[in-house]
């Protein structure tokens, strides 16, 4: 399966990937805009209930929906083996993740942006 996707480091062994067409902007911690945007951001690790990566917060990912997520660091992935996650494995519906991408020897959970926002809410 081909991307590109925006990969965000969330926790040890847990990356989240967004389809690039859902992404509006990526803001690094060193950017002048970071301090202004950061208070509006939600934590991906808190939404997913995982222990946050030591590098968090390192970047902000702003989606076209308006959601703004804190993450540890970001990378762009263009290819990877895709394995679907059956919806019945997830507690909340609609499922926040519909599959896993193998990425640099690890896994990235391919997110459904709107369902992920509902987890935060």
């Amino acid at each position: 399966m081909r991307g590109p996707w925006l990969h965000l480091k969330v926790a040890a062994g847990c990356d989240v990937a967004f389809p690039m067409d859902a992404v509006e902007r990526l803001v690094h911690r060193a950017s002048p805009d970071y301090a202004e945007l950061s208070p509006q951001a939600w934590s991906l690790s808190a939404a997913l209930g995982v222990h946050p990566d030591a590098r968090m917060p390192g970047v902000l990912a702003i989606l076209r929906s308006g959601a703004c997520w804190h993450a540890g660091e970001a990378a762009i992935g263009k290819a990877g083996r895709f394995m679907p996650v059956p919806p019945y494995l997830l507690e909340r519906q609609p499922p926040w993740c519909h599959g896993i991408l193998e990425w640099e020897g690890g896994w990235a959970f391919l997110a459904e942006p709107e369902a992920l926002e509902a987890l935060h809410g």
């Binding site: 062994g13 847990c14 997913l48 209930g49 995982v50 083996r81 394995m83 679907p84 996650v85 059956p86 019945y88 494995l89 997830l90 507690e91 909340r92 926040w96 993740c97 896993i100 193998e102 896994w107 959970f109 987890l119």
Partner: protein, 135 residues
């Protein structure tokens, strides 16, 4: 009554059997990775041959322990990993069709009779998948 080939393994306190044709694989020491937001019964996922296999072992199944060995079963295309020990193959036949529960949460459909075995329950995959909400 026809004899069948059964994959038999110890899961918790019970010795369970599934038909060879219901078995996809037996994995030693698989790496189980967590899935955030997963159902309570699911301990995590194992990648196997381009598939993600959910592993039984969260709430309600924690007594099964960490999977030193994982028995991967299949029903109507859906895979499930069951942590187990002492995997063996037996030829035997199903003695009855009573609906029983071999272990809490592990429904059985009768017992498998073989010449050399202890009591072996036939794991009822249809009921197990229904309990877990898979099918």
């Amino acid at each position: 009554m026809d004899e069948s080939l059964w994959v038999v393994a110890l899961a918790g306190e019970a010795r369970l059997g599934v038909l060879m044709e219901e078995t996809w694989a037996i994995l030693d020491g698989p790496e189980v990775r967590p899935l955030p937001g997963r159902k309570e019964w699911c301990a995590g996922l194992v990648a196997f041959q381009d598939n993600l296999v959910p592993v039984l072992g969260g709430n309600g199944y924690s007594r099964l322990g960490r999977p030193e060995t994982l028995l991967i079963v299949e029903r109507q295309g859906a895979l499930l990993g069951i942590p187990c020990q002492e995997v063996a193959l037996y030829r035997g036949f199903l003695s009855d069709n009573e609906n029983l529960e071999a272990e809490p949460g592990l429904p059985a459909a009768g017992m498998i009779k073989a010449r050399e075995t202890q009591a072996v329950w036939r794991l009822d995959l249809r009921r197990l998948y229904s309990v877990l909400g898979i099918q």
